[in-house]
């Protein structure tokens, strides 16, 4: 665990993160590292705490204990500061601003950059990644299809020019063919130098895309390693498909 | 007992009856109303008109006052209580003001804005205290019964409660009707206590005062509503020499309670939790 990044530098580090909602403990001591230029995925079933992890990094929920560090500097406890520090999130369920146009949604993504001249360039960059968005530039976001909304949500998060892009379930509710498109674009985005941390239920897709992976189960990391290893490891399927109970049976069925 | 003390106790009883009504609606059913003074007005005017113009004895007249308030609450409640949250709060202001305007403009019956004088002083201490005790017992029993639990269920989660088989719309209306009855009776007693009523006594400020007391005492606590009434009525008496500060204090109480302790003095607990369910002690 000591040197996951080897030669590369650690860009984002989560250290012993705890989060509770009232009496409900959602995260109990999550630690992980994301290296410069990497795609890291966190997989786990419904209710494992994946979205809570994303929201805690973004300071949308209170980090009860532990910290999140970006290039040696702790991320602040206010969401707008986190975005300014260089982390942005494409949230679960996309959450595009339905009554705003595609262009306005993208401009909202660049809000933290103020009057930065690079915004116009980045708009073109996002349109080059997702040409469908350019075709629908003046359309209300609410009228887009699910896949287009997901593209918009990712594009919007990219408009903040983040050092780390967080993605919360980009495959949620999308048809396989669209998921494939989106994951292909994610690889391209990564190739252009954006470090990505994504949480996914669609474990196979996420592991195929990422370099390294973590398995989250009821608020704790239970396994980690290079994605290829995780993918080959039969227990993983059981871990994210279920609580591990009766794992042998399921694993057999799926192998 | 001096007349002054007696007056304060009567006033306490009247305010407490109205506060219990509002507490059931706001604290237990989760409906925020800003028009409950109108139900007091209906009770007060009905009783005054019945006793003076029709020679009815004060006791049935007070009951009628309560019943008129219930009927109006029903007519108003059925259509408007479908609305949730702020919509109902605004509707209740509108309805409250409309009732007050009708009382002001219906000269032939209500004698208009100048008020209705000459009401029998039927609200003596035994009458006020007796009615208060009966209504208080009824209210405490009610919140510890099926209906009380149904109200709280609607307040906490109306979707879940409708899926647990509660007709939430009906529970909201019935809760409004009961609270209107309590306010109607309180209004009737107020008329008998002051011997004079006037539409302006039942304006939005009065409604706010009722809510302030309940919020201060604790939303979801009936004994809190009584405690709130006691504290606020007595403080008001203390501040009588500087009465222009009275409303300022009401307002400040609302804000401060919401900021510091939104659950009020009592939270949603009762002062004497054994009132809740006598047989539960052995459990």
């Amino acid at each position: 665990m000591t040197e996951v990044c080897g030669e590369k530098t650690v860009l984002l580090e989560v250290r012993d993160l705890h989060v509770s909602y009232g009496a409900i403990k959602a995260l109990t001591g999550v630690s992980l590292k994301v290296c410069e230029g990497e795609i890291v995925c966190v997989i786990g079933s419904n209710g494992a705490g994946k979205s809570t992890l994303m929201n805690a990094i973004m300071a949308m929920v209170r980090r009860e204990k532990g910290e999140v560090i970006l290039s040696g500097k702790p991320l602040e406890a206010k969401s707008f500061r986190v975005v300014q520090q260089g982390v942005s999130l494409s949230p679960e369920g996309r959450k595009v601003f339905a009554p705003l146009s595609v262009l306005e949604n993208l401009r909202m993504g660049a809000f933290s950059r103020g009057a930065d001249k690079g915004v116009e360039e980045d708009l073109e960059w996002v349109f080059s990644l997702f040409p469908r968005l350019k075709e629908r530039i003046d359309q209300y976001a609410g009228t887009l299809s699910g896949g287009e909304q997901q593209m918009l949500a990712i594009g919007r998060a990219l408009m903040a020019r983040p050092r780390v892009l967080l993605l919360d379930e980009p495959s949620l509710g999308l048809a396989p063919i669209i998921i494939k498109d989106i994951f292909r674009e994610l690889r391209r985005i990564n190739n252009e130098g954006v470090t990505i941390l994504l949480v996914e239920q669609n474990a196979r897709q996420a592991l195929l895309l990422s370099h390294r992976g973590y398995v989250l189960q009821t608020g704790q990391i239970v396994q980690e390693g290079p994605s290829a290893d995780l993918l080959a490891n039969a227990d993983i399927k059981a871990a994210y498909l279920g609580g591990g109970h009766g794992a042998g049976k399921t694993t057999k069925a799926l192998s | 007992m001096s007349g002054y003390t007696e007056g304060i106790i009567i006033l306490l009883c009247i305010n407490a009856i109205a506060a219990m009504g509002v507490s059931l609606l706001t604290g237990f059913t989760g409906i925020f109303s800003l028009g409950h003074a109108a139900y007091m007005a209906l009770g007060a005017y009905t009783t005054a008109i019945l006793t003076i113009q029709h020679g009815v004895h004060w006791f049935p007249a007070i009951l009628c006052g309560g019943i008129v308030a219930v009927v109006v609450a029903y007519l108003i409640g059925v259509p408007t209580l479908r609305l949730l949250g702020d919509y109902y709060a605004i509707a209740s202001i509108g309805l409250g003001e409309a009732i007050r305007l009708i009382l002001e403009n219906w000269q032939s019956v209500t004698r208009g804005a100048r008020g209705y004088p000459g009401i029998d002083p039927y609200t003596t201490l035994p009458v006020a205290a007796g009615i208060f005790i009966v209504l208080a017992i009824g209210m405490f029993n009610l919140i510890n019964s099926r209906f009380g639990r149904a109200c709280k269920a609607c307040r906490d989660d109306y979707i879940a409660s409708s899926l647990l088989g509660f007709n939430t719309a009906r529970i909201r209306v019935v809760s409004l009707m009961i609270s209107a009855f309590y306010c109607g009776v309180a209004g009737a007693l107020l008329g008998g206590f002051l011997s004079f009523i006037q539409p302006v006594m039942f304006d939005m400020l009065k409604s706010t005062e009722l809510t302030a007391v309940v919020v201060f005492g604790g939303l979801g606590s009936m004994s809190g509503a009584l405690l709130g009434t006691a504290v606020i009525t007595l403080v008001t008496e203390l501040f009588r020499p500087i009465s222009q500060y009275r409303m300022l204090i009401y307002g400040a109480v609302l804000v401060i309670v919401m900021v510091i302790r939104p659950e009020g003095i009592m939270g949603n607990r009762e002062l004497l939790s054994w009132i809740k369910a006598p047989f539960r002690r052995k459990a």
Partner: protein
């Protein structure tokens, strides 16, 4: 015919003042989803600042008006910071905000009762009220036209702000989803302060015109109830709804006063509220919101 035209102009003028108040109220509602009952207080603060400055420093309406707008805006921001923010940060129960705003409304009103006294005060005659003749058809007052024009100017400015600026965009986004707007790097607390400032300043404009129309007194804020009604008729949280609802209400009031009886106008207002709530509870432009199960 002449009377009708005249009442229509008066109605639109009154409606446009309601619109200034209703739009600010609706704007706050769209972001925080609670009815800010203290909104009427901002109007009164604006009115008294204007009155005070006109009385003390002579009759420069531009200075008095500007300071009045700024003062009411700042008062609104302070109200939010002191009373609402601590509640917002602790809970998402909007009922608590509603009750606190009721309290703030009473506090503001009674501060003026104590400090300025309950007297009715007339603003010095800085706004012309001379009658103006309309091609011989009707006469209306310069004041009515002026309040109509001012409302159009201020609402137009608001519209430009919302459509053309970065913060305006953020406000529109936040009106749809405040949480997600926060994810975009918007300082949500600052955004809310801006919204309250704008709402307070617009209320002050309404307050100045209302104090000319009805004189100034601490309970003048009670008139916001009509703006609330207008906002509900138009659809809570919708800005075009607030404007349309206000104009309808202003017209209804003036036509009732002109052709039926002046005592009936408030009753008409409240019956319109009831009818709207019965027929289309979400108002003319409102969206129905359903909770996720």
């Amino acid at each position: 015919m002449g009377t009708l035209l005249q009442q229509i102009i008066n109605g639109l003028s009154l409606g446009s003042v309601y619109a200034l108040i209703a739009v600010g109220y609706s704007l706050v509602y769209s972001i925080l989803l609670f009815s800010n009952f203290a909104h009427g207080g901002f109007l009164v603060i604006g009115g008294y600042i204007c009155y005070g400055i006109l009385k003390t420093f002579g009759t420069n309406i531009w200075l008095a008006g500007g300071l009045s707008l700024a003062g009411a805006g700042i008062a609104a921001v302070l109200t939010e910071r002191l009373a609402y923010r601590p509640i917002r940060e602790r809970t998402n129960v909007t009922l608590y905000l509603l009750i606190a705003s009721m309290g703030m409304s009473i506090v503001i009103e009674n501060i003026f009762v104590i400090v300025a006294g309950g007297r009715f005060r007339a603003l010095p005659p800085v706004i012309p009220t001379a009658p103006i003749n309309f091609f011989g058809f009707a006469t209306t007052s310069a004041f009515d036209l002026l309040s109509l024009v001012s409302a159009v100017v201020f609402l137009g400015a608001l519209q430009l702000f919302l459509l053309k600026t970065r913060w305006g965009l953020a406000i529109r986004a936040a009106a749809y989803d405040l949480r997600t707007a926060g994810l975009m790097g918007v300082n949500v607390n600052r955004l809310i302060s801006i919204v309250f400032f704008v709402a307070g300043a617009l209320a002050a404009v309404g307050g100045i015109f209302l104090s000319v129309r009805y004189t100034l007194y601490p309970q003048l804020g009670a008139i916001t109830i009509k703006a609330f009604v207008a906002a509900v008729i138009g659809g809570l949280g919708s800005l075009p709804g607030a404007v349309v609802g206000s104009l309808i209400l202003g017209l209804a009031e003036m036509l009732t006063a002109g052709f039926i009886s002046s005592q009936m106008r408030d009753l008409v207002v409240f019956s319109m509220l009831v009818i709207t709530l019965l027929v289309k509870p979400t108002g003319l432009f409102g969206k129905s919101v359903s909770e996720k199960v």
